[in-house]
């Protein structure tokens, strides 16, 4: 059991080829079994920061530690790291040519070396938990957005990750579908899963986050307990941002 400093981001800067700085000297720590929500205006670097945690983006400088070890050293097997960090995307990114069941089975079989039978058992169990057991043989194109995102969450969970990364999981959904996806995320949070969530869902942030990180223009401008951030924000940009999202 490693209670603290589960993931550590140290002085990370990300500069794109065209010279724009997506992240500017960011340092922060994510705790084990805690839900961290990253908020901020679009273009503030939230998604870049999240995508860096499983190295879909590589930092220009700085270091990222996972359970005390740098994941940027040459000898680190990226695949092993990515296996233990589940990721959920804004656009679901389900594999359209595979059935729901095959979507969830694929990585279990080819990464975790499970047999088809073992994988299917896990998949069906998870599907029933999100109430989509009857969709196992459907193709993604036959599902609603909310169903797709729940399947995407299940697909990541099937590898029993140590942390779940959510990149604006509800931004591409209709309001009534947001609810069903948030419900799954809430029960996941209650089960003690370490979660790092980039979202505009302030209600979720208020009720389920253990820690809020506010970003603007590639910098972390404020972080702390939700009560503190929502009721007593210090930074003027935080006040401005919360004003604009809460009173829309």
């Amino acid at each position: 059991m490693k209670p603290d400093k589960f993931i550590e981001v140290i002085n990370v800067t990300k500069e794109f080829n065209d010279g724009t700085k997506a992240l500017d000297n960011c340092s922060l720590t994510f705790d084990n079994q805690k839900v961290t929500v990253i908020i901020g205006p679009s273009g503030s670097g939230k998604s870049t920061l999240l995508r860096m945690l499983n190295l879909l983006e590589l930092p220009t400088s700085g270091d990222i530690m996972f359970e005390g070890n740098s994941i940027l050293k040459d000898k680190v097997d990226l695949r092993v790291h990515r296996e233990s960090t589940g990721m959920v995307f804004q656009n679901f990114n389900l594999f359209p040519h595979l059935t729901v069941l095959d979507n969830i089975n694929l990585a279990q079989i080819s990464v975790k070396q499970k047999t088809k039978k073992e994988a299917t058992e896990i998949s069906l169990n998870l599907l029933s938990q999100v109430g989509l057991l009857n969709k196992q043989n459907n193709y993604p194109s036959q599902l609603s957005g909310g169903e797709k995102q729940r399947i995407a969450i299940v697909r990541a969970l099937a590898l029993s990750p140590k942390v779940m990364l959510f990149d604006e999981p509800t931004s591409a959904l209709d309001p009534e579908m947001i609810k069903e996806v948030l419900a799954v995320m809430k029960s996941l949070a209650k089960s003690g899963m370490t979660m790092i969530v980039v979202t505009h869902e302030m209600d979720f942030a208020k009720k389920f986050a253990d820690h809020i990180v506010v970003m603007d223009k590639g910098k972390i401008i404020e972080e702390g307990h939700p009560d503190l951030i929502f009721n007593n924000p210090k930074h003027s940009r935080t006040i401005q941002f919360l004003d604009s999202v809460l009173n829309k």
Partner: protein, 205 residues
């Protein structure tokens, strides 16, 4: 003869076309350069020149097999293959690039290897975009076999040349030749579009 040439060149050309396609998609700069150079050079020079060049470089003894003179068939085939591989590689590359990059990211985030992602996720989706364009290439190939008359291979145009000098019916001969080419290409495009339709059905499922 014409059909045989076209079938061989497209089938083997597809296999060969995978190589420059992946070279160009590689992140390795040198591999990318080789792939791009190959495609640009082949596409930038006339097929006729390539055929005659390869024919003059590879000198084989006359060797008749099943009524085909392999000494001119093999170099001719080789030239057509090389030519076809360059065009097909662009079709394949386009097909692969048309798959949303989120698919690759999703694969990576699940810990899949690049190879598995290509084989199980990208290629099955790319094929749907590749097949129609490949059909196009197939029809083009059938027509381009006409170039082999310069090597004395008994394809359609060569036969036409002989008939023309026997009968002096120039116009008539070429009209028949055009018809015969069309008879080969039309069913081919029909066949390709039926494959396309079937692929679309599988997607809508």
């Amino acid at each position: 003869m014409t059909l045989l040439l076209a079938v061989i060149s497209v089938v083997l050309g597809t296999v060969l076309g995978l190589i420059p396609a992946f070279l160009r998609l590689s992140s390795n700069k040198f591999a990318k350069f080789i792939g791009t150079a190959y495609v640009e050079i082949i596409r930038g020079t006339p097929l006729l020149v390539q055929v005659l060049l390869i024919y003059s470089m590879i000198k084989l003894k006359v060797f008749i097999f099943l009524g085909i003179d392999l000494s001119s068939f093999i170099p001719g085939m080789l030239a057509l293959l090389i030519n076809s591989s360059a065009y097909v590689s662009e079709v394949i590359r386009g097909g692969i690039l048309s798959v949303d990059k989120g698919q690759r990211e999703a694969g990576l985030s699940l810990g899949l290897t690049q190879g598995t992602i290509m084989k199980k996720i990208i290629m099955p989706q790319a094929v749907k975009n590749i097949i129609p364009a490949l059909g196009n290439e197939f029809v083009t190939m059938i027509k381009e076999t006409s170039i082999f008359m310069y090597l004395g291979i008994a394809e359609l145009m060569y036969s036409a040349l002989i008939i023309r000098s026997d009968t002096y019916a120039i116009k008539e001969t070429y009209i028949v030749v055009a018809l015969l080419y069309f008879l080969l290409t039309y069913p081919t495009s029909k066949w390709m579009s039926s494959i396309e339709r079937r692929l679309k059905v599988s997607e809508a499922r």
